[in-house]
Amino acid sequence: MPDIQGVVNEFIDKLKKRKVEGSLETAQLTAELLRSVISAQKLPPTNQAAALIEAVRDVGEKLIAANPVELSVGNIVRRVLHIIREEDVSLLTSDTGNLTLLPGGDEKETVGQGDQCDPFAAAIGAESLRPQLLHMLLGNMPNSAAACHTYSFGENAEEKSKSDIFGRSRKLKHDVIEAINVLIEDIDTSHELIGEQAVEHIHQSEVILTLGQSRTVLEFLRAAKDNKRSFRVFVAEGAPRYQGHALAQELVGRGLKTTVITDSAVFAMISRTNMVIVGVHAVMANGGVIAPVGMNMVALAAQKHAVPFVVVAGIHKLCPLYPDNPEVSSNNLRSPSELLEFGEFSACMDFGCLGGAPLVHVMNPVFDYVPPELVSLIITDIGGHKPSYVYRLINDYYSSEDFVLNPKDASLKV
């Protein structure tokens, strides 16, 4: 499909050039792209799930390679793969369920069609999936309870009973696309779900400190404000991007008392703060978070003063990978021009002088890694969790087979 290929390439291009930034936006775009990939995919009559998985994985690998630091791309790809597997399994179980529970009806159907192999194959397939299925069921218990994207078995079973082979190929695709739609909706509404919990965490006349800009934090604070809580917010400006200024402006626009401080004053001010609430870039499987640069300093200061360090993150930021040297492996270095004006020291930064080594290096990293022991609480759209519980959440949302998309790719470690 050339048009799909074109769309994929365009998105890859954007990722490479860092035109798409912010985990929310990236996650949405990735999910939409994968949806169109799936809908455009022609499925063979048998083993459709495997074909879909193959197709998604191909695209996913390219997307991840385009910007390995944007972890939410990988998260969404894995989520979609997980959805496909689940839908496939649920279709199979409904079929085998039909076989066992409604032998008469099923037999009639199969006999009528004169194709006895297929139900057998399905049954065998289901059998082979059994261990995995058990694993899935275990993993999905809280998930389905939380009313997410998976369809309940009952519904499927009811529909499945009427499906035929040709219907099923359409059915799988249809179900997967439906599920992806739910996923996109989830991503969109994660702010609201997180915001609903704000009242439980923010008390009257508290002082909250945050750094940089995060839409989730903004919504969280706004929700608390809407619930008649009056509190004060210190916003560290978040050099070198100074997004804290924009956040401060928005907060003031919503009637919150806001004080902008420099990043260097965080340590001084945190002694008068009740809580630190920050948005992050990604939540890793060990409960550590990858956050805008400077956050490690804030977390350390918060720990020193026994101030809770609360992370608000939509579930799409949940990354099933364990961090390995995250300061380096999942980081970006931005242009020095954000720190030193162009031309100011350019002579010293020239690789031509002093035998190839420039006199001045400028470090302008984008992300910081905050280890789990500094994080007090992670608030997601499905509630608050200790960092130590994150690995469990990951089992709900991802299949372990997908943790490593490409076994040959050593850069992403599990």
Partner: protein, 650 residues
């Protein structure tokens, strides 16, 4: 004089010593025992368990009035012992009139005794500091019933108070005192009342201090004039006594040492700018027109925060009207205001040099003593500088040094001699305490740099810069990481200078400090001051850098000259700090696209906070490198004490 009071008048140590011999006398603290002669051999006091647990040996010699007066009014006075209860004075309340006044003769003797200054500087702990016998004799004579109250601790303590208070008081005072009966009543005010009174007096005192109008009278170091002015002095002291009593009780419990030196050391409360009445008063006096900044941060109401930008122009326009301020001082003040001079050492040197200029041009007005008049002048200069920018601690210490030097000028000197001495003193201070100290620090610190090191520094510290340059000159191979932060971006200037010398540098901002810390082997930081609990008071952000380094188990070495050490203690960065221009936060140079906060003064809910300093807890500091060597932060109070003594003596 009635017997009860007498004991207190016993001011000389000798009497106390005598008391040693008659230990039996003491115990009757609870009831006012009739004075018995036996106790005249004093030192019961030692033996008696004093509430304050002070041994007589610890009692400081009475100090000369001149030394005491300048600060006397607000200083804590000798702690009162329970003894006083006898006099129907509520325990703990301070009734100055209760103290027996030394007679005029005593006073003069006291004044004339040449040892005084030395003894004063001595902490009372040293027996050697006891006054000469001759003096004691006189005081003994004064006491009708020397023995009576000696038994109690209170007696022991009283002397300092007496001398302190009454040093200047003449006979009049004594008369006044004889009316004691009425006074105690007056003292029986409620706690609240006393508090209120105390507040008011403090305010008044602060006012007086700021404009220097009252200080001249108080600051007299003039012994010769003491007699001549006795009448005046006594009045002054009377007034002072009236005002001081209230202030004293507060400190009494905490400040057990009777010696005045100690008391003098206790820093008096700083001006709190959330106290409206005091701010009003201060405003009336100020030369610089200061507009209160809008949208002040609630948490920092106690610190001054003015509109920046308006002051400079206003001050410039007054250039030729500012009569009392010497042009050199004026110039320095303007440069402080404009931010041309920053950094503790630079500001301190600039100030001292301006003072030198003003001293060169100084001539004593007729009928005034140089010591007093010059102190007044300096005070007015200082208050002018404070209006330009709050003093740094280094400057405060230098000013204290200068004032001590002025106060100690021998009276016999002519004006030109005195000026020459002062000028050379200032020179010596600059050379020894700042320039030489830096050299010593560099010498010590450079031993901590080895080849292959990656040194991290934050902001721009003159001592650290010297160190890096020196190490480079020695041919050590190392790299420097310069961490910088808004809004001052001083690190950029440091970077430029280091690169100019060919040192290989990495430049980054403070948020990235956790990122860069992986490759760092040592952290060198400068300090604005080191407080006596080991807290390092320095450019805002230093604490964060030290914290991250601590987390990464990297040694944090703080370079700070010992003259910046300060006896105050501080736990956080809120209680005392300095606020910079909030506009500097809103505008980011070179990043015009970030302009969300441009109209911040118009939105009521938005405040910008530009802190200048922060306090680094001592846990994060591995070592402090000073001109006295390399010490752990726990040793700072020792240096403060030793240094201070030397400072007073020299």
């Amino acid at each position: 004089m009635d017997a009860r009071r007498v004991p207190r008048t016993v001011s000389d140590p000798k009497v106390r010593q005598v008391g040693f011999f008659t230990p039996g006398a003491p115990p009757d603290r609870s009831h006012s025992g009739p004075p018995h002669p036996a106790s005249s051999s004093p030192p019961v006091a030692d033996i008696s368990p004093s509430g304050n647990s002070l041994s007589p040996v610890m009692i400081p010699p009475p100090r000369h009035l001149s030394a005491e007066l300048p600060r006397g009014s607000h200083l804590p006075h000798a702690p009162l012992s329970p003894m006083r209860a006898r006099d129907s004075i509520p325990v703990g309340s301070y009734n100055p009139s209760e103290f027996a006044s030394p007679t005029a003769s005593e006073f003069t003797e006291d004044a004339l005794s040449p040892n005084w200054p030395v003894r004063r500087s001595n902490s009372g702990k040293f027996a050697s500091s006891l006054p000469a016998g001759g003096f004691d004799m006189s005081s003994v004579k004064q006491n009708n019933f020397p023995a009576s109250s000696l038994t109690t601790v209170s007696i022991v303590k009283m002397p300092p108070g007496i001398t302190e208070k009454d040093g200047g008081a003449g006979v009049e005072v004594q008369k006044e005192r004889n009316k004691v009966g009425s006074k105690p009543l007056k003292e029986k005010t409620t706690k609240a009342q006393r508090r209120a009174l105390q507040e008011a007096q403090r305010a008044a005192k602060a006012a007086a201090k700021a404009d220097g109008s009252e200080t001249p009278a108080a600051s007299s170091g003039v012994i010769t004039s003491a007699n001549a002015n006795q009448l005046k002095a006594s009045k002054a002291s009377l007034q002072r006594k009236d005002s001081s009593p209230v202030a004293a009780p507060e400190k009494r419990s905490s400040d057990r040492a009777p010696d005045k030196d100690r008391k003098k050391d206790v820093p008096h409360p700083r001006m709190q700018f959330d106290d409206e009445t005091r701010v009003e008063k201060a405003k009336k006096r100020s030369v610089v027109k200061q507009t209160e900044a809008k949208n002040r941060v609630e948490l920092f109401r106690h610190l001054p925060q003015y509109e920046h930008g308006t002051r400079l122009a206003d001050l410039e326009s007054k250039l030729f009207q500012l009569d009392p301020v010497h042009p050199a001082v004026y110039k320095v003040g303007l440069r402080y205001l404009a931010g041309d001079i920053s950094g503790g050492n630079a500001r301190c040197i600039a100030m001292l040099q301006a003072f030198q200029e003003s001293i060169k041009d100084y001539s004593t007005p007729p009928e005034r003593a140089l010591i007093r008049d010059l102190t007044t002048k300096i005070n007015s200069y200082v208050s002018f500088m404070i209006e330009c920018r709050p003093l740094s601690i280094s400057m405060g210490n230098a000013i204290r040094f200068l004032k001590t030097r002025i106060a100690k000028l021998p009276l016999s000197l002519s004006e030109s001699e005195a000026k020459a001495i002062l000028l050379s003193d200032i020179d010596r201070f600059i050379n020894e305490k700042i320039i030489l100290a830096d050299k010593v620090i560099v010498k010590h610190a450079v031993t901590k740099i080895t080849d292959g090191d990656v040194l991290l520094t934050y902001g721009s510290s003159s001592a650290v810069e010297l160190l890096l340059l020196h190490a480079h000159e020695l041919g050590k191979k190392f790299r420097v990481v310069v961490v910088d932060s808004r809004p001052k971006l001083e690190g950029k200037l440091l970077l430029r200078r280091l690169v100019g010398k060919g040192i290989s540098c990495t430049y980054t901002h403070i948020n990235a400090v956790s990122y860069i810390m992986h490759e760092v082997t040592r952290v060198f930081l400068g300090a604005s001051s080191v407080l006596s609990n080991g807290t390092v008071y320095s450019r805002v952000g230093t604490a964060s850098v030290a914290m991250v380094a601590h987390q990464f188990r990297i040694p944090v070495l703080v370079c700070c000259e010992a003259y910046k050490f300060y006896e105050r203690v501080q736990l956080d960065s809120i209680c005392s700090n300095e606020l910079g221009d909030p506009d500097a936060i809103a505008k980011i140079p070179g990043r015009n696209e970030i302009n969300c906060l441009d109209d911040w003064p118009n939105s009521e809910n938005l405040q910008l906070l530009n802190l200048i300093y922060d306090a680094t807890p001592s846990d994060y500091v591995s070592m402090i490198i000073t001109d006295y060597g390399m010490i752990p932060p726990t040793s700072v109070p020792v240096i403060v004490r030793e240094y201070r003594r030397e400072h007073l003596w020299t």
